[in-house]
């Protein structure tokens, strides 16, 4: 056997376990998820018949009904993305720029901002639940100092969604800051010097130098955080009283709907899988748009 063929055999040998793993645990189940979404799938039932896209028909009917909980879940999820993502990115960019200007203690601040990110979402959610308590939670104690009446936060359907958003923004901020900071440090100092020589003020430098050169980082984080907000689950379960995305479905999300339909008492996995297919299509579209955008950037 030639040396070259021997090496090819080694390559196949090395890949045997990993490729089997990816096919059995990733590719197979992906196809299986599509299959489940086309069936009346109760894992306890002996018969799991195909049902002529009934799960998708039900999904679209539920999405058209303004009072349906699935419709509410999609609405809330888009709200989380539209409020949370821009908030997280703008605060993150501000703090990254501040970190980039200071000369001392940068490491200390970075570590502190990163702490919530390495903490489990469950612990974070329960700590914030106690901060939000109506009677003796820290936030109401602070509001009281300023003479503001006690707020119900998570228990008030009008305040619950922003309250949950705040927790998620807070927890992921450290990650956004670190990525922005890495992007900022990649911008050569000469660009700033040239702008200053030309007499550009701070705002001009920010909009004409920093932002354009930071564009790849910005697009990357925009896509990543959008997807993260689309997949929100652990925080909502642990911040709502019955773990159900309440009060009155005001904080429920797409993934929480999947979970409750598929693993709740109804065990309606077909419908749950149909929702995940929808989520997959949305995430796929965003990723493809990102690829187009980043490919264009290479040109200039």
């Amino acid at each position: 056997m030639t040396l070259k063929n021997r090496r090819i055999l080694w390559a196949y040998l090395f890949l045997l376990i990993p490729l089997t793993f990816f096919i059995v645990v990733r590719t197979g189940p992906t196809l299986f998820a599509f299959d489940i979404s086309l069936r009346n799938y109760n894992p306890m039932a002996a018969d799991k018949p195909y049902n002529d896209f009934a799960n998708f028909a039900r999904l679209f009917k539920d999405l058209a009904d303004p009072d349906h909980v699935t419709r509410k879940a999609f609405e809330n999820t888009f709200k989380y993305v539209l409020i949370g993502m821009p908030l997280q990115l703008s605060i993150g960019l501000l703090f990254a720029m501040l970190l980039n200007t200071i000369r001392r203690l940068r490491t200390l601040y970075r570590v502190i901002y990163f702490i919530p990110f390495v903490t489990s979402a469950v612990a974070v959610a329960w700590v914030w639940r106690s901060l939000y308590m109506p009677d003796f939670g820290l936030f109401n104690l602070i509001l009281e100092l300023f003479g503001v009446p006690s707020q119900r936060f998570l228990l008030d359907p009008a305040q619950s969604l922003p309250s949950v958003t705040a927790v998620v923004v807070w927890q992921g901020l450290g990650y956004v800051i670190i990525i922005f900071l890495a992007g900022l440090q990649g911008i050569p100092e000469t660009f700033y010097e040239a702008a200053r020589v030309d007499g550009a003020n701070r705002w001009k430098i920010f909009t004409k130098v920093t932002l354009p050169l930071l564009n790849p980082t910005l697009v990357y984080l925009l896509v990543l955080q959008t997807i993260a907000f689309l997949r929100m689950f652990a925080e909502v379960v642990n911040l709502s009283r019955q773990g159900d995305g309440g009060p009155v479905n005001s904080t429920t999300t797409v993934v929480l709907r999947v979970f409750r339909e598929s693993f709740g008492s109804s065990l309606n996995m077909g419908y749950g899988a149909a929702i995940t297919v929808m989520l997959f299509v949305i995430i796929m579209t965003i990723s493809l748009v990102q690829m187009r955008l980043t490919q264009r950037q290479v040109e200039y």
Partner: protein
């Protein structure tokens, strides 16, 4: 007109720096205060949590004794540790090996194999939990350690990062070892692998963190209290505890502080790892 050059004032910090430090410190306070509140509440007596006060006046360790003796916290700790250790060891080895093959070998079908691995990155975990559960049920993996860890034994992200890392290993070095008659596995494990250890360490740390904090899959695949991992146990215990915030915060402290201590020691590697690769647990 005075034409002599006068250097800028150098006494104290310039104003923009002071403003930057002020805002950064406020931000740091916002990051840390919830944790201080958590620890402070965990030392309060049941009566004291009903008083408008930040710090406990009469700190007590009772909450910790109760949480550790009356719940399965020690068991949940162990379960999380075992699950995270198994998956991290597997990821450290198999992600390296797979990345190595994609980086250093040429063979028919390489492109297809690589696309097969990369394509799995497109599919969110949430879409796979239903099929995984059905599979786990059919193979009696529900409520077992293998059931908890199997989806994460090899990761596409890790394979991709290791493929990049192995590109920095010169081919000449591997060829030299081949001429010495070393077999391919020996070359991988004793020549190439040691050279990319910083990358291996980074993916291992991240994988450990990700597994330690994992929620949706362990929640689905465990139903018995004895098999729960720490986040699932903490959530279960907290929702049972009603408004005993002192106990809940003791549980939260117990589940976060050890990991945070490790983080502070490894912070340089972790933060640099994130900055370089954008890795996310």
């Amino acid at each position: 007109m005075d034409l002599t050059y006068s250097p800028p004032r150098r006494r104290g910090l310039p104003t923009p720096q002071i403003v930057a430090y002020a805002i950064l410190t406020l931000g740091a306070l916002a990051m840390v205060t919830p944790f201080i509140w958590m620890v402070a509440t965990s030392f309060k007596s049941p009566g004291e949590i009903l008083q408008p006060r930040f710090l406990p006046e009469d700190p007590t360790g009772d909450n910790y004794t109760q949480v550790l003796t009356r719940t399965l916290f020690p068991q949940w700790y162990l379960n999380s540790l075992v699950a995270a250790a198994i998956s991290t060891a597997s990821v450290g080895f198999f992600d390296s090996l797979t990345g190595y093959v994609f980086s250093k070998f040429e063979f028919p079908g390489k492109r297809i194999a690589f696309i097969l691995v990369l394509a799995t990155l497109m599919v969110p975990t949430e879409m796979l939990v239903i099929p995984w559960y059905v599979m786990a049920q059919q193979t009696s993996l529900v409520d077992t350690t293998l059931g908890i860890v199997f989806p994460g034994l090899i990761t596409a992200t890790g394979v991709f990062l290791m493929r990049q890392a192995f590109k920095s290993v010169p081919d000449e070095l591997l060829d030299a070892a081949r001429i010495d008659g070393m077999n391919e596995f020996g070359i991988f494990s004793t020549v190439a692998w040691p050279l990319v250890m910083p990358s291996v360490a980074a993916i291992c740390i991240f994988n450990f963190l990700g597994n330690w904090n994992a929620y949706i899959w362990p929640l689905i695949v465990t139903s018995k209290r004895a098999t729960m991992t720490l986040p699932i146990g903490l959530a279960f215990f907290s929702s049972e505890a009603g408004s005993a915030w002192n106990l809940i915060m003791a549980g939260a402290t117990l589940s976060t502080v050890p990991l945070l201590t490790v983080f502070v020691f490894l912070q340089r590697q972790i933060i640099q790892g994130v900055a370089l690769t954008g890795m996310k647990s």
